[in-house]
């Protein structure tokens, strides 16, 4: 299964980024094979709808789950509609640790928006 992790740089060794829509990079990792791919966040400097774009990226890359901290209401709705599960890092500080805990089922699943979100316009 593929998961999307928000990271501060486009690398498997990068530290995590707590912002879902405004993360510096996205790391798409296949939990079975360990294969990964880093993507730049195209919405980093856009005026609004960053969370929605990030959700679309997760969907287009076939992710079944995303791991971050701050999910705004729009991102939450979009991910929810796409049937993509949301998790939070908790005390995990690195991608490696995050993946380990995720596979062990130790990450907290998110059932509602975790940040007030931002609005363009």
């Amino acid at each position: 299964m593929k998961v999307l992790i928000t990271t501060a740089a486009p690398d498997i060794g990068a530290s995590i980024d707590p912002r879902f829509g405004r993360a510096a990079s996205f790391l798409v990792v296949d939990t079975e094979t360990g294969e990964w791919q880093a993507l730049d966040n195209p919405a980093l400097h856009s005026s609004g709808g960053a969370g929605i774009q990030a959700a679309q990226i997760a969907s287009l890359n076939g992710c079944a789950a995303v791991i971050s901290v701050e999910f705004g209401p729009n991102a939450f709705d979009a991910l929810h509609a796409a049937d993509i599960k949301m998790y939070q890092f908790g005390s995990a500080g690195s991608v490696e640790e995050t993946l380990k805990r995720f596979k062990a089922g130790q990450l907290q699943q998110v059932g509602q928006p975790t940040s007030p979100g931002h609005h363009g316009g």
Binding site: A43, S46, G48, G49, A50, I52, Q53, A55, Q56, S59, N74, D77, A78, L79, A81, A82, D83, I84, H119, G120, G121
Partner: protein, 315 residues
């Protein structure tokens, strides 16, 4: 003459100044047998409109406004993603087998409906707020808008207010913008000949004045400053000097200094205008309008403004 009154933050007395300016122009018109016409006042601070509390218009006209947002016919949609691709506001997203609309981000531009290859998008009205208009006892034509609670889309409502009520040829327009330096302020000021920046001679006031002055610079609209709550006893103190020096360095003329007085604060709390509290301020505000008129003319001569020309012929 179209003047937008702005300030970098709330609580500087922006509305007080805008209202006094309108009242003094109406008074000048009354004394001159209604020539030129009393001004039009638009309260574009649609998140918290309050100018009506002072001008007391009889709000007889009312209009619902909103934007046309897409509604997806899921039976026709093939989830091709075209709509999401053309929407520059990311207000529509295709997620697997679902196409989702985010009304709070939609600007109603219509691109998605135009580009949908399946004709799966219908446009429906998403109400954003209400506009109201009427005449004040002083003869000022008045309009304001009120954004629906929780609605973040201020710009389209401001745009529709300004389109709904427009100044007649020769009629001055006073726009009370929302505090801050956001896109709402830019929308309120669009088309204005002059930006009147209201500030206080305090360190915070200076910071906010700089933000407001930046809007004027970016929009290339001539600007001037009214310093409110100006304590003459504090003259030559640091905060006052800093604000005055900033205005001088930035070539922002200080058009008036309104004194800091307890009776002004008390009068405003009772819903009185500055002119009602101090009738002698009529000439002070008429003077502000005159100075603005003088500053607008050369600016217009250098940048031909079709609309301005039209108004001059109409006069």
């Amino acid at each position: 003459m179209k003047i937008t009154v702005a300030s970098g933050k709330g609580g500087t007395g922006k509305t007080t100044i805008a209202v006094a300016l309108a009242v003094s122009l109406a008074e000048a018109a009354r004394q001159n047998n209604g020539r030129p016409t009393a001004p039009l006042f638009l309260d574009c601070d649609i998140e918290a409109p309050n100018a009506h509390l002072f001008l007391k218009p009889d709000l007889k006209e009312r209009k619902q406004v909103g934007v046309l947002i897409p509604q997806i016919d899921e039976t026709r949609c093939t989830h091709c993603g075209k709509c999401a691709e053309v929407c520059q506001y990311h207000a529509v997203a295709v997620l697997g087998k679902k196409t989702l609309v985010f009304p709070q981000l939609c600007h109603g531009c219509g691109s998605c409906a135009q580009n949908c290859p399946e004709g799966a998008i219908r446009e429906v009205l998403n109400p954003l707020g209400t506009l109201e208009a009427g005449i004040t006892p002083a003869g000022i034509r008045f309009g304001h808008g009120r954004l629906n609670v929780g609605e973040p889309m201020a710009v389209p409502v401001i745009r529709q207010l300004k389109r709904w009520i427009q100044p007649k040829p020769g009629q001055a327009l006073i726009v009370d913008a929302s505090p801050g330096a956001s896109c709402s302020v830019v929308e309120a000021a669009r088309g204005s000949d002059f930006l009147l920046l209201v500030s206080e001679p305090t360190p915070f006031g200076l910071h906010d004045l700089k933000l407001a002055a930046e809007v004027a610079r970016e929009m290339a609209i001539p600007a001037g400053v009214v310093l409110n709550r100006y304590d003459s006893a504090a003259q030559n103190t640091r905060p006052v000097d800093q604000v005055e020096n900033y205005c001088r360095a930035e070539k922002l003329p200080v058009l008036a200094r309104i004194p800091f007085q307890r009776e002004i604060a008390a009068g405003i709390a009772q819903g009185k205008t500055l002119i009602e509290i101090h009738p002698e301020f009529t000439s002070l505000f008429a003077g502000i309008a005159e100075q603005i008129a003088l500053m607008i003319e050369p600016a217009r001569a250098s940048t031909p403004d079709v609309e301005g020309e039209f108004h001059r012929i109409g006069r």
